[in-house]
């Protein structure tokens, strides 16, 4: 450590403090760790809980198995026990820990026994430790119990020691992240004693395994593992403490491990060994796989194997990297330097077959070049099967058998042609012909084919053309040299040719994928609405992945299915739960993941620039998606997310515009109402104060006029207020017209009478047909409608007379009110029935409220009639408002009259 670094380390490490702060918001995990079943973990946990309960801490039992033991059950008695969830599984009802119940109850501390437990199918998480993680994330402290044999990194050691393979495993990270680990220890002899006394509960079925398991040797070994693990933890805590408090001290060793893995069987062992090594050295470790840059298309099997390996490594607490490169050794060393690795861990795999003789093995090459680095080899067990040969299935590139056939056929054909040519003319460089065959084989059959063709060609050439003919012996030394040169050239050229072919194939596959993606984004860019984008995405995904696709969008507090393809795809409850999980946590969930794997779909979040915009479900099948499909999928999802975000923004801006429009409208409405109320009010106020203060100085006519204006303005205000009320009733939908038989001529007469009184000096002419049938409606409302129309006609008609007509028109009764004013411009004729629409300011008269016609329409429509405006009405002037009501049946009408 340099002087400088030491100074730095005197300040508290910000990362360490940050991690501490993060921990403060989360719940705390306490693990009661034991070497074997029966050491008394549950008992210890309950005793401690009882003590805290007595101190008034809110501690509840989430799930504890007492196995009918009295002393343990007695401890549970004093505590609050959460009810268990009942889950139906294959006809049986299982009682399980109720995660949602615990989350809803929100105690300070919850006890959940058996950390390694696997949940039955259909639970949210397959493993209990995942339930517990959720509890902790929700800020609830959790106490749980664990036997050391369930720890993932120790599973192979445990299997070696005890001969029992443990199926329920817990990732090391869970224990590593635990805030407190309490070791519950019992000497093995005492444990065996307890077992004999029947104090340890064990399932019946496991009795034979139990005998093998509970041997003194086994138990002692397990006890050591448990003690060591706990000691390691204590050590880490000391280091953490020192770091947080800036105490200079003996840090971790400073070692960093780089662990190289591949898709072979040995790699799993490499990972486990590296994990133990790392925890022994207290060193961080990075697991890396190197993929050939020119080999795009891996087999699904290899991919799955790598995926599983990486998941294991992550569970054991490693960082994982994928590196792309051609020279394995160079890439490993480059990464080691970049990551400041001090040791490299690698499987000591030897080359197989011909490579053994031609190429140095990876470990050899590495150890030669890794100057200054420790290289740690992990050797395979004897029983280990040789790994499956790495095969690549490129579309368009021949299989193994085909390549051999191609090589043989081409070599034979060339030999025949060569021989034929040889008969007619002795060519000096007949070997070139064979080179052609090798290149042909390389292009058609790939590298293997080229190699076989090269060897076959060399043999054939020797046999057919080199003296002595028809033997494999060579007499002339220069011919030997020529043959060796030929063979080398053929192999190298063949190798290059096949690689070029492969690369061309890869390029073609990529180009196709790019083309398809380009097509998609081009279509997407033309999709303005989010619906279009969704349908495009769903159908495109289905077409390129050949899976059922579902796309869900957030809808208030829930999700709604926005699109599915094919259209008969349906989601069940589990699928929905997984989709919601994805929305809430913005993590992948569902099939093939650690959360709700029972769902048939894998759900991925669609993350736009402003957070989650949707959730996409991809139905899973036996076959996993290849890397190309995976790449295409994430590219499409990214594009869709951006498109959805864009669509959302543009929809929002439209809504914003509509809101602004609405605000403007409300403002106009407000100022209109205030004007219409204030003008008569101002007149009344002014006139009244004038009369009171100056009345005695006025002429009697002036006084009368003022009084009259007060009366008129009062009437105007009252009409305005009742108009407003009518409008409110229409808008609120509370208008319920009576349904009577009404005589239209009667209603017209009384409305005209009223109008004449209000507007003296205006001529109103009526023309009513004598055979007018009755109509069904509300006479008061119809009267109001007619009065409003007359009011309008008088206002806009100038000095000209207003005409009111009524007649029968087929099945309808038709009423019209016509003025001879300026009329309405054709562009505005549809707007006259809108609220607060006004036709300019009429000359010399008070402006309307802009409500008359819209109230008329509201009333007429409520009574089942129709209303419309026509302009010009007569000789390019005027406006006619026409109302139609269906005529009542004559008989009914007669009856009503009678």
């Amino acid at each position: 450590m340099t002087e400088n670094e030491r100074d730095d380390s005197l300040r508290p490490d910000p990362d360490a403090l940050l991690a501490l702060a993060e921990k403060d918001r989360r719940g705390k995990l306490t693990v009661f760790l034991g070497a074997a079943p029966g050491v008394g973990k549950t008992y210890a946990m309950l005793t401690r809980a009882g003590r805290l309960k007595a101190e008034g801490v809110d501690v509840v039992v989430g799930l504890v198995e007492t196995h009918g033991r009295g002393e343990t059950a007695a401890l549970v008695d004093g505590l609050e026990v959460l009810p268990r969830a009942r889950i139906e599984h294959r006809g049986k009802v299982l009682e399980e820990f109720d995660l949602d119940g615990a989350l809803a109850r929100r105690p300070k501390i919850v006890l959940v026994d058996e950390l390694a437990h696997s949940n039955p199918e259909g639970s949210r998480h397959p493993k209990r430790y995942q339930d517990i993680e959720e509890l902790i994330a929700a800020g609830i402290d959790v106490w749980t119990a664990l036997n050391i044999q369930h720890l993932e990194s120790l599973s192979d050691v445990v299997a070696q020691i005890t001969g029992v393979t443990v199926r329920e495993r817990v990732p090391d990270v869970v224990l590593k992240k635990a805030d407190e680990v309490l070791l519950v220890d019992l000497p093995p002899t005492e444990l065996i004693e307890r077992l004999k006394e029947g104090k340890v509960y064990l399932p019946e079925s496991a009795s034979r395994a139990v005998d093998r398991f509970f041997r003194l040797g086994n138990l002692t070994a397990l006890r050591e593992l448990a003690l060591r693990r706990t000691a390691d933890r204590v050590d880490e805590q000391v280091v953490d403490y020192l770091k947080q408090n800036a105490i200079e001290g003996p840090w971790a060793s400073g070692e960093r491990l780089l662990v190289c893995v591949g898709p072979d069987d040995l790699s799993e062992k490499v990972v486990r060994v590296a994990s133990r090594l790392a925890s022994g050295l207290n060193a961080p470790w990075i697991v890396v796989s190197i993929e050939r840059a020119d080999r795009e298309v891996e087999t699904t099997e290899r991919l799955q194997r790598m995926e599983a390996l990486f998941r294991l490594a992550e569970q054991l607490g490693a960082e994982t990297r994928r590196v792309v490169g051609n020279d394995f050794v160079e890439e490993i060393l480059k990464l080691a330097r970049r990551e400041h690795a001090t040791q490299i861990v690698i499987g000591a795999r030897r080359n197989r077959g011909w490579r053994k003789f031609l190429l140095p093995s990876l470990p050899d090459a590495l150890s030669r070049k890794a100057a200054g680095l420790g290289v740690y080899f992990v050797t395979p067990d004897k029983t280990e099967k040789p790994p499956a040969p790495a095969r690549f299935a490129l579309p368009g590139i021949a299989s193994y058998k085909q390549s051999v056939l191609i090589a043989v056929a081409l070599s034979a054909a060339t030999a025949a042609v060569g021989k034929l040519v040889y008969v007619f003319a002795e060519l000096p460089n007949i070997s070139l012909l064979f080179l052609l065959a090798v290149l042909g084989a390389a292009v058609l059959g790939g590298y293997v084919s080229a190699f076989i063709a090269a060897v076959l060609s060399a043999l054939a050439y020797n046999f057919l053309f080199i003296d002595p003919l028809h033997t494999f012996t060579i007499t002339a030394p220069h011919e030997v040299f020529a043959l060796i040169v030929f063979l080398s050239v053929a192999i190298i050229a063949g190798g290059f040719a096949s690689r070029i072919k492969e690369q061309a194939e890869v390029a073609r596959v990529r180009a196709t994928a790019l083309q398809s993606l380009y097509e998609f984004s081009r279509k997407l860019s033309t999709a303005g609405k989010s619906d279009d984008a969704i349908w495009l995405a769903v159908s495109h995904l289905q077409a390129s992945l050949k899976r059922n696709i579902v796309l869900l969008l957030p809808d208030k507090s829930d999700l709604r299915v926005a699109a599915v393809w094919p259209p008969d795809t349906e989601l069940d409850v589990t699928d929905f739960t997984a989709a919601r999980w994805t929305r809430d946590k913005q993590e992948v969930a569902g099939a093939g993941t650690g959360t709700l794997p029972n769902s048939r779909f894998e759900f991925r979040p669609l993350m736009g620039p402003h957070g989650l915009v949707g959730v996409c479900g991809i139905q899973q099948s036996e076959e996993q998606l290849g890397p190309n499909a995976e790449r295409a999928l994430s590219a499409i999802l990214d594009q869709t997310a951006i498109a959805l975000d864009r669509a959302r923004l543009s929809e929002e801006s439209l809504q914003q515009a509509a809101r602004l429009e609405g605000e403007r409208y409300r403002e106009a409405l407000l100022s209109s109402i205030s004007h219409d109320l204030r003008t008569p009010l101002a007149t009344i106020m002014g006139a009244v104060t004038s009369l009171r203060q100056l009345g005695d100085k006025m002429e009697p006519e002036s006084r009368d006029d003022l009084l009259e204006s007060i009366e008129e303005e009062g009437g105007r205000m009252s009409r305005f207020v009742s108009n407003l009320l009518d409008m409110t009733r229409i808008e609120a939908g509370t208008l319920k017209p009576k349904s009577d038989w009404i005589d239209v001529s009667d209603v017209i007469h009384s409305a005209v009478e009223r109008a004449r009184k209000y507007f003296p000096g205006t001529v109103i002419e009526t023309g009513i047909a004598p055979d007018l049938p009755l109509v069904e409606g509300d006479s008061v409302l119809l009267g109001q409608v007619l009065f409003n129309l007359l009011d309008n006609a008088v206002k806009f008609g100038g000095e000209e007379p207003v005409n009111v007509y009524a007649r029968r028109d087929g099945q309808d009764v038709l009423i019209s009110v016509t003025d001879l004013g300026k009329g309405i411009p054709p562009a505005e004729i549809d707007r006259v029935f809108e609220k607060f629409y006004r036709r300019g300011k009429p000359d010399g008269r008070s402006p309307g409220t802009g409500l008359g016609l819209s109230i008329a329409r509201g009333f007429v429509e409520a009574m089942g009639g129709k209303i419309q405006a026509e302009s010009p009405a007569v000789k390019k002037r005027g406006t006619r408002i026409v109302i139609r009501f269906p005529a009542g049946e004559a008989a009914k009408a007669e009856k009503a009259k009678g």
Partner: protein, 228 residues
């Protein structure tokens, strides 16, 4: 001879009560329903005062005011609705003498008319001694007294008070006060005004919590009340 008042309003019912009322109060009344009619009437009928509604059918009342102020100092009283505050202030800043909100009582209007007319005479006669609520402001001797005692004011307070006194009885907008007392750069510094008006009231008012001399016109400005 009675003074002539031009009433500019497009609402016939307002004209209908203003005419007999103002006549009864002893004024001659000329009517105009539009902006252009109003401008013509000021030129031909030679009124002594204009009552101007801001909402006119043919042009904005403020434009009428601007045209008028181009060639005459005739007192103008603005008629406006309460919610159109910014318009009102703009009109005052454009040179209107006062404003009155609809609906109003006739007494209020005649008081404003009297103040405006009197001010016109006084402006012609030059500065004078102003008395209000027992407070005497002598702008010639630069002295402010209450009873026998002189009221000690800072130069800014004095400027503020005399500015209000010069427009006694009429509203003076915040902007006018700020730009004349503090300078053109301070037209928006309303908080200066609040502080200094507060200090001024402490010194000149009988009861500073219920000011009787310097009245607040909410959102518009201040008005110095004078004994009529």
């Amino acid at each position: 001879m009675s003074e002539r008042i031009l009433v500019v309003d497009d609402e016939p019912q307002i004209q209908r009560f203003l005419k007999p009322a103002l006549k009864a109060a002893g004024y001659d009344v000329v009517e105009a329903a539009t902006g252009s009619e109003a401008l013509k009437a000021v030129a031909t009928a030679a009124p002594d005062l204009v009552i101007l509604d801001l909402g006119l059918p043919d042009m904005d009342g403020k434009d009428v005011l601007t045209s008028l102020r181009g060639w005459t100092t005739i007192p103008v009283i603005i008629l406006s609705a309460r919610e159109r505050e910014s318009e009102k202030i703009a009109a005052l800043d454009l040179g209107a003498d006062d404003y009155i909100e609809k609906p109003f009582g006739i007494g209020e209007l005649t008081a404003r008319i009297r103040t405006a007319l009197r001010h016109r005479e006084r402006a012609a006669a030059g500065p004078a001694v102003i008395t209000t609520d027992g407070l005497v402001i002598d702008t010639v001797r630069r002295l402010v007294t209450r009873g026998e005692e002189a009221v000690r004011l800072t130069p800014k307070e004095y400027d503020l008070l005399t500015l209000l006194a010069r427009h006694a009885g009429r509203v003076v907008t915040h902007k006018t006060l700020l730009t004349s007392v503090w300078g053109p750069a301070h037209g928006e510094d309303l908080h200066y005004l609040r502080v200094f008006i507060g200090q001024l009231r402490q010194k000149i008012e009988r009861d500073p919590t219920q000011p009787a001399i310097v009245r607040t016109e909410p959102g518009v400005g201040y008005r110095l009340v004078i004994d009529l």
